[in-house]
């Protein structure tokens, strides 16, 4: 089984390195095929490992010693257990699909080889993150995905906005990572080890405040990666990257790493239910907060990004309330349908020549029938209609909130579910139904390559069946490791009222979205100029506030440091030294006039000086030594 583990882990790295060799050269199709093939290998290995884990075993290997100094011992160890195998399946499935899809999507891009190198490097980092058996290995993967995210958001580096967004994402993540690093240091300081099994076995002996702080610091790290408020602004801006990147990194895998961390560290969070409640409250807040922003946005990819943010909020509610397996289940289901949604959006973008405003599209269902079907399917799954994936995973989170008697969280999540349905179908209605507004802009859309649609098909199937088919086997498998808590509403009447009520509410929201946007788009000036619309449209003015409160003062400070400190002190000293030496040389080079007799004179002068120095030094040395004696 070790062989499969290493195959699953290192195939993407091999692909990335080989593609990287051709990174600077022109497009060569084989890099795309090779990396996709290796990803498929990785996927197959993961499936084999999954069957092995389903049979009740786990694999734990120590590849080599990494750090061994004094009492500190950290190996490169990898573990495949019920949680990591779930993540491996999600990562390899989505990334294989995205790799194959990207062969078509990036086919006209100059950086084709570079793109595949980055994308495979990302998958490798993500695998390290989920498979590591200690916190430091997780941190390495964590930073690796951060780096690849930066590379891929800024993939079109000639665009100012792309580089800006890449830097924003990178810097925000570093802020959170600092907290995470502190959390890891605290674990080592108090327990003397970073191995998961050791840490989780001994965490309960620590005093309460220490566990609380560890939990808080680790969660701040998770907040950065999963873009939770107040570190959420980078995710929407990260949509500057190519769409497959958005699908893989900023919807399905990397942003869920925060949820994975909380799920993985569940023995820590089980000790501190208060922090758990705070996480759940923040998650519910973000779920609604992001959904409201998605309601009015006019950028197709940003709408989906906000939807991701909102769904991450759902996952944190479940994880915070102790329903770790539910959080992981929603993570999995969400990865499938959200990646599908993004890839569909990629098809639309291609057809629309990179136009992102859905108000300039419309009526695409005739020309892009398959994309329409796939995106509708993904939206239905996202909205949580029976029997698609979202119904099983998202409604389960609602039930968790209800069973745990957090009725406020429950209502917030319920309203958010309605909003989710509304904005998803607002997007679908605007893009695929109604008048063909794009004709005014002289665009004639065409369907994507057939193989791209075939590549999306597995995701579509998973979006449909993953809830219904996987729920029971998944539950049985993963609760070997995670707390096995069943969330059932025991009163049958309440259960049916809630389920049917939620379904009706969601369907009404969808119907409203269709009614409002599917026929002709009427722009309601009064609403749009209203306070709330403007507030939501400007993302609660948070980017502006950050700009005013952090960026601009920092710019001022930097300018001050540059003009006053750097130029006037540091540079002045360095330049002064250089100038002194230069001027000395300028003055003294007349000595070398080539005349032998003047050179000899200089030599004599030098001799005399050395002689005087030698005599003076000897005299001084003797004086000191005599005194000492």
């Amino acid at each position: 089984m070790e062989l499969y583990l290493y195959t699953a882990l290192f195939s993407p790295l091999v692909g990335s390195l080989i593609a990287g060799l051709f990174g600077a050269s022109r497009k060569t199709s084989f890099t795309g095929l090779l990396t996709s093939g290796l990803l498929l290998t990785s996927f197959i290995s993961s499936v084999i490992l999954l069957t092995y884990v389903m049979a009740g075993h786990t694999v734990h290997v120590e590849m080599m010693t990494w750090i061994a100094t004094g009492d500190l011992y950290i190996p490169f160890g990898f573990v495949v257990d019920q949680v990591s195998v779930t993540m491996m399946m999600v990562v390899t499935t989505v990334s294989t699909v995205v790799h194959i899809y990207s062969i078509g999507y990036m086919s006209h891009d100059k950086g084709f080889n570079r793109f595949f190198s980055y994308l495979s490097a990302f998958v490798f980092s993500m695998m390290v993150l989920v498979m590591s058996d200690n916190f430091l290995g997780l941190f390495i993967g964590w930073e690796g995905v951060g780096l690849c995210s930066w590379l891929l958001i800024g993939f079109w580096y000639h665009k100012e906005s792309a580089t800006w967004a890449a830097n924003e994402a990178f810097i925000m993540n570093r802020i959170a990572d600092l907290a995470m690093l502190i959390g890891i240091f605290m674990i080592y300081w108090n327990l003397g080890s970073l191995q998961y099994d050791v840490v989780f076995a001994h965490i309960s002996i620590l005093p309460m405040p220490v566990i609380t702080w560890i939990g808080i610091f680790l969660f701040i790290g998770a907040m950065g990666k999963s873009a939770q408020f107040p570190l959420h602004t980078w995710l929407a801006d990260a949509m500057e990257g190519p769409t497959p990147v958005s699908a893989l990194i900023h919807a399905a895998t990397m942003v869920t790493a925060g949820v994975y961390l909380v799920v993985r560290a569940n023995p820590i969070y089980s000790e501190i239910p208060d922090v758990g409640n705070a996480i759940a409250a923040l998650g519910a807040f973000v779920a609604m907060f992001a959904a409201t922003m998605a309601l009015v946005n006019r950028d197709m990819k940003r709408i989906i990004a906000y939807s991701t943010l909102s769904q991450l909020g759902y996952m944190f509610v479940a994880a915070g309330l102790g329903a770790y397996w539910v959080a992981l289940f929603h993570l999995m289901a969400h990865a499938f349908f959200k990646a599908l949604l993004f890839l569909g959006a990629g098809n639309v973008m291609h057809a629309m020549h990179d136009e992102l405003d859905p108000f300039k599209m419309g009526g695409l269902k005739t020309s892009m029938k398959w994309t329409w079907i796939l995106m509708t399917l993904a939206s239905v799954a996202l909205a949580g209609i029976y029997p698609l994936a979202g119904f099983f995973s998202k409604d389960l989170i609602l039930e968790v909130a209800f069973v745990e008697q957090h009725y406020i969280l429950y209502s917030v999540l319920l309203i958010t579910a309605g909003m989710t349905a509304f904005y998803s179908f607002r997007l679908v209605a605007l893009i695929f139904h109604g008048d063909k507004r794009h004709l005014e802009h002289g665009i004639h859309p065409h369907e994507a390559y057939t193989f791209m649609l075939y590549a999306m098909a597995p995701l579509a199937i998973l979006a449909v069946i993953s809830g219904m088919v996987f729920k029971t086997p998944y539950y049985l498998m993963v609760t070997e490791l995670l707390p096995a808590v069943q969330y059932h509403i025991h009163n049958h009447t309440t259960f049916w009222i809630m389920t049917i009520g939620t379904q009706l509410f969601v369907i009404l929201a969808i119907a409203y979205a269709y009614k409002k946007y599917a026929k002709a788009v009427k722009v309601d000036k009064k609403v749009e100029s209203g306070f709330f619309y403007q507030l939501l449209y400007n993302q609660y003015y948070i980017p502006k506030i950050y700009d005013e409160v952090f960026s601009k003062p920092y710019l001022q400070l930097s300018k001050l440091a540059w003009k006053e400190i750097d130029l006037k002190i540091v540079d002045a000293i360095v330049d002064g030294i250089a100038n002194t030496i230069y001027r000395t040389g300028e003055k003294t080079h007349t000595m070398q006039n080539g005349n032998l007799s003047s050179m000899l004179r200089w030599m004599v002068i030098g001799l005399v000086v050395l002689l005087v120095l030698a005599v003076a030094f000897t005299a001084g040395y003797n004086a000191v030594n005599l005194q000492a004696m």
Binding site: H589, N593, G594, N595, L596, S597, L600
Partner: protein
Amino acid sequence: MELTLNHYLILSTILFCIGLIGVMRRKNLLMLFFATEILLNAVNVGMAAISHYRGDYTGQMFAFFIIAIAASEVAVGLGLLVVWYKRTGKIDLDQMTSMRG
């Protein structure tokens, strides 16, 4: 009056100063060689005198080495001088400025 070590050393110093002044003042290359020889022999006198004074023959050995090296130096130097004179017709130091920095 008996000759002591000091007398030899004073002689050596006087010779050295004469040589040094010669090295600094002379513009004729041939004279420069003479001045160099005076410098070297001033040192030789000092070496031999101290060697005798201490009863240690190392200094005298050194004096022989210096004589041998000085002879070969003069041989090479005079050879170069002759070539230089043949090419330019002058042996004036102030005109040898091809090594200007």
